[in-house]
Amino acid sequence: MRKKVKTFRPTAFAFPYLTVTIVFVIVPLLLILVYAFRGADGSFTLNHFKDVFGKGYFSKIIDTVGIAAVSTVICLLIAYPVAFILASSPFNKMAIFALLFIIPMWINFMLRIFALNSLLGIIGIKEGYMAAVIGMVYDFFPYMLLPIYTVLLNMDKSYLEASKDLGANSFKTFTKITLPLSLPGVISGISMMFMPIFSSYAITDTMGGAETSVIGANIATLFDGNADNYGLGSALSFVLLLIVLVVVFLSTSLSGRSAKVKKVGKVS
């Protein structure tokens, strides 16, 4: 009799992908780590990190956190009401209508920046901090809107009815039910915008004028074929990695807490 394959476990299918990940994702990160702590003579050094703090790069990072925070907050303040309206009746029955707000996501972002920059030129907003912030908000708007809209649309509407039946007005219903339940969408929207802004030097270089920039631009120029700056660029990348880790930790613990709130809410 032929042997029967009882447990079929084609885990080997993941091996090509794993190899690619190790070679092109893990090894490069390790290289950055090594170069960040390696002096010109190949010995261990902390000089590159001294330069990060000494040569004004740290204030650039703070500036980047600033412009990222300002843009993300403005974008959230616009996207939340829009998502809220689109997820409420009668708009929640017009899926194509919501699509219109998200379509720009599929248009090349550099072309959108070009279009926006042209319009700002017409209405007389000059290159500078404000133009760069408008650029960020415009560019990331669909990415902020989509997760919030999805969460609000799929929210269990019986909570809202219960709240109203129990006598809460619509403001109280919003702050006690809708807002906490939509928090995971808000967090995912923020995380799709906040960190990517660190790399958005395409926007600040073209719209921000001379005085506005993000740290991504510094890293890109430090690596620009100049081996001397290589360690400094790696050290900066390393600092960014740490910031990413902090942001990821914060957002997962925040959404973890809101998931707990949800569970508790269901029990009571």
Binding site: I32, A95, M105, S118, S199
Partner: protein, 275 residues
């Protein structure tokens, strides 16, 4: 209808229309000025003309950038779809511990900021070329690899949920009836994954078309341009007017593709709800 609800509905419409205008006005201005002889967008409109469209097809650098964008996008998303689908199948059958490790490693490029990922690719190439003295260099091929690497995790994210929904009995039945595991996988499982694979491919393709940072960092030493890097470089100096014509074409194509896609999707959903 109560008076207050009329007011709130009017307010809702006003907000939506203002935001919609803010989104589409820049695009509309470019589309309108793509048919003009104006020297700059917003300037004196001049004559109604198609000259920018004919100029577009004479601009070798821009055509080259478009060709590169499409080539890198298509090849990398085909590769990402293959790599991501096989990876999703492999991960699906892993034990919990190893699955958690692989899942976490696939998240690295998603959560990491792009500039660091881009610098990673750059460092790797310098390491291979200068330290290990291998005969490799930045090239179209390397850009394709980089794009594949960043979009594969998104394909995994699209295919994995579908795998979890599949009925495992179908695969077992196929093997019980004597088909080899490989054949069962290809004839039973893959057709059920086709939809998710197409979505994954579309996502990978969009990601690749939209990429700027990774392409910019890993191409400026060899001068391979995509639409993103072309527009970026030109915007810093003086942007040629035919970019308006290219923008108009791209806006229109995206709009048509998305509307058709959604009409087809809605029809399918309706058919399914009828059954």
């Amino acid at each position: 209808m109560k008076k207050s609800s009329v007011v709130s509905l009017a307010l809702k419409w006003t907000i939506l229309i203002i935001v919609m205008l803010a989104i589409y006005l820049p695009l509309a201005v470019i589309i309108i000025y793509s048919f003009s002889s104006a020297k700059s967008v917003g300037g004196n409109f001049g004559n109604l003309t198609l000259s920018l469209y004919s100029k577009l097809f004479e601009d070798a650098e821009l055509l080259d950038a478009t060709k590169n964008t499409l080539l890198i996008g298509l090849v990398s998303s085909v590769l990402a779809t293959l790599l991501g689908t096989t990876a999703a199948i492999g991960i699906h059958y892993m034990r919990r511990k190893s699955r958690a490790i692989v899942d976490a490693s696939s998240q690295i490029t998603i959560v990491n900021t792009e500039i660091v990922t881009a610098m990673g690719f750059y460092s790797l190439m310098l390491f291979l070329r200068d330290t290990l003295q291998l005969p490799v260099n930045f090239s179209m091929f390397y850009l394709i690899i980089a794009h594949t690497v960043i979009s594969t995790p998104y394909v995994i994210l699209t295919v994995s949920p579908r795998l979890k929904q599949l009925n495992p009995n179908l695969l077992e039945a196929s093997m019980d009836l004597g088909a080899s595991p490989m054949r069962s996988l290809i004839t039973v499982m893959l057709p059920q994954l086709a939809g998710a694979m197409i979505s994954g491919f579309a996502l990978a393709f969009t990601l690749s078309l939209d990429d700027f940072v990774i392409t910019h960092v890993n191409s400026y030493s060899v001068g391979i341009g995509t639409i993103s890097t072309y527009v970026y470089t030109k915007m810093k100096h003086n942007i040629p007017n035919q970019i308006r014509a290219l923008s108009t074409i791209i806006f229109t194509v995206v709009l048509i593709v998305l509307v058709i896609y959604n009409i087809v999707k809605n029809k399918k959903a309706k058919q399914q709800s009828l059954h």
